[in-house]
């Protein structure tokens, strides 16, 4: 018996007698001897709760979190403030422990949250319909690709190189099965090269994908990107950062067919990359090809307002091999955090937060670009992230600069050359509302000295800073 099971010896005897077998072992008699183990697994024996806590805490202590340094890391996940109400609501048994609402009469809470979430996502993106969440941002983009494949059966995708590298790679991985070719369009001055984009799109293109803002933090001009797709009957898919949509035009209003994105910025913690959620919203005409759960409003037999999972004939448990997706379990709890966050932020808060990010980002970009040797990689408009060239030569030098900063408990950002060798000494810097002017000034000081040291050839520190 473990602390999570409750069968006493007395219970076991009574239970075995009721079943009519002599031992628990007999219950496994159907398993052939050759594949039934008698030896225990080669795993350590179990621990008490306090010991497990101590071990997990010790592992946590060997990570440098955003509480342990002043972090300007972004590149897809951001250190935005998560309000306390989210911790409290996500911990409630009623939200934390049930499963998919298969029995709507006792799942109105979860279903109503999905309905509210769908409303919030439609409002943010300007799209007609939203599902109740998919796994995360990159797989949401790949899911949009599958919708396009089901819609028009064409055999090629066009994707901007300014889309997050993880999303580009995920698309390539997941469309390999259904044998799509993928054309990547390069950047020009920090944004998607419109000339190359237009040339790449022909009548064989199923869908096109761009990101807003893009991976370099630059705001794209979506209208011509979308128009080029429409000219050839291709679907246009925008991967948007939802927290920028208080400032930037809603993709739906610009005419995209599908708007997807990473939901982490909406009230979800970093969690070393997950779980967060992906959102998936589309124009009405695509609703029957959408993946995943969708909640809808209806009434009960007495006329009370209620909510149910609807349009389920799209899904794997009914349509099986003809389903619009294989997704089953998605990210309901994280989507709950998303809609609570948007309600917490509110209609005006979304805009105010966006404006603050724009101002601080502009200040940071100007301040850092003034460092000797450092320059902005592009001068496109930016909301909360931008790219610099550090003027130190290559990726290894950038890594040394980062290590110097880390020794002073500052994490200046993510090296761009890992995914974009064309920017050998690029650095991606993210500014959230948690990074004050004082911290930006600290970064300028620390980064300035680290770049200067690198440029002067001073020896680098042997290793990064430990957690404080």
């Amino acid at each position: 018996m473990t602390r999570y099971t409750a069968v006493t010896d007395t219970d076991r005897s009574a239970m075995l007698e009721a079943i009519g077998v002599a031992s628990v072992g007999e219950l496994f008699a159907e398993i052939p001897d050759a594949v039934r183990r008698s030896a225990p697994l080669d795993l350590p024996e179990g621990l008490g709760e306090a010991e497990v806590y101590a071990e997990l805490r010790a592992l946590a202590a060997r990570n440098t979190s955003v509480e342990d340094e002043v972090s300007f890391l972004g590149a897809g996940m951001y250190d935005h403030y998560v309000p306390a109400v989210i911790d409290m609501l996500m911990a409630r048994s009623e939200f934390l422990t049930p499963y998919t609402p298969y029995q709507p009469e006792i799942s109105q809470g979860g279903l109503q949250v999905m309905f509210e979430y769908q409303t919030a996502i439609c409002e943010l993106t300007g799209m007609d319909v939203s599902n109740a969440s998919v796994y995360e941002g990159p797989s949401a983009l790949a899911a949009a690709a599958y919708l396009a494949k089901l819609t028009n059966g064409r055999k090629r995708f066009v994707i901007s190189r300014a889309v997050h590298p993880h999303a580009r790679e995920t698309l390539t991985t997941l469309c390999a099965g259904y044998e799509m070719s993928v054309t990547e369009v390069p950047l020009a001055d920090g944004v998607t090269d419109l000339v190359a984009w237009s040339e790449a799109i022909e009548d064989d293109v199923s869908a096109v994908f761009f990101s807003q803002p893009n991976y370099l933090g630059a705001v794209e001009d979506p209208a011509p990107l979308i128009a080029a797709a429409r000219e050839h009957g291709a679907l246009s898919v925008c991967s948007a950062d939802p927290l920028t949509l208080g400032i930037l035009e809603a993709p739906g209003r610009l005419g995209v067919d599908v708007c997807v994105g990473e939901g982490q910025t909406l009230g979800n913690r970093l969690d070393f990359g997950g779980p967060s959620f992906g959102f998936f919203a589309a124009r009405d005409e695509h609703v029957r090809r959408m993946p995943g759960r969708i909640a809808g409003e209806t009434v009960d037999v007495d006329g009370r307002r209620g909510f149910v999972l609807t349009l389920q004939t799209r899904e794997q448990h009914i349509r099986r091999e003809k389903a619009t997706s294989n997704i089953c379990t998605a990210q309901a709890l994280n989507a709950l955090a998303g809609v609570v966050y948007l309600s917490w932020l509110g209609r005006h808060g979304l805009v105010e937060l966006g404006e603050l990010l724009v101002q601080r980002t502009a200040y940071a970009r100007d301040t850092l670009a003034a460092i000797d040797g450092v320059a902005a990689l592009h001068d496109q408009p930016a909301i909360r992230e931008f790219a610099l060239s550090l003027g130190v030569g290559d990726l290894e030098a950038v890594r040394r600069v980062i290590a110097r900063c880390a020794a002073e408990h500052v994490n200046p950002g993510h090296p761009l050359a890992i995914d974009y060798p064309e920017y050998p000494d690029g650095l991606l810097v993210a500014i959230t509302e948690q990074r004050s002017r004082a911290e930006i000034d600290l970064l300028a000081d620390v980064l300035g000295r680290a770049v200067a040291a690198e440029r002067s050839g001073a020896p680098a520190p042997r290793r990064g800073g430990e957690a404080r």
Partner: protein, 129 residues
């Protein structure tokens, strides 16, 4: 919902579809049994006018809340009319499967194919079997 019925003037396909032949045009729908097995019909995906249907092949789908069913063509031919009312009122298939719940009309490509369809009694016998 209508009582079980299988009009004698129709021809039946074993996949629970019916055909009403009037000259060189045939009207198709699904049988009482088919709609009863599906339950409340919520969606009918109408084929395009001009689509070519082949006998014994599915030409569209009909959906209830928790099931999807292929709809088979009893005969080959070109779609000349679809029942537009089903888009707004798919429940007509439940309420009146042989009347207002009809699905498509086709121009018959090969009248000889009707030989392969079942008369009412044979279809009902197959259901009971």
């Amino acid at each position: 919902m209508a009582e079980a019925s299988y009009p004698p003037e129709l021809l039946y396909h074993p996949e629970h579809d019916w055909a009403r032949i009037e000259g060189d045009v045939a009207t198709f729908g699904i049988t009482w049994h088919a709609q009863d097995a599906l339950g409340d019909i919520v969606y009918f995906d109408a084929p395009a006018i001009g689509a070519q249907l082949s006998q014994n092949e599915p030409y569209t789908e009909v959906e209830s809340v928790k099931a999807v069913s292929d709809v088979y063509a009893p005969l080959s031919g070109e779609v000349v009319e679809v029942n537009d009312r089903l888009a707004e009122n798919p429940e007509l298939v439940n309420e009146d499967p042989y009347g207002e719940g009809w699905m498509v009309k086709i121009r018959i490509a090969d009248a000889g194919e009707a030989e392969g369809l079942l008369e009412r009694d044979a279809y009902v016998a197959a259901l009971d079997g």
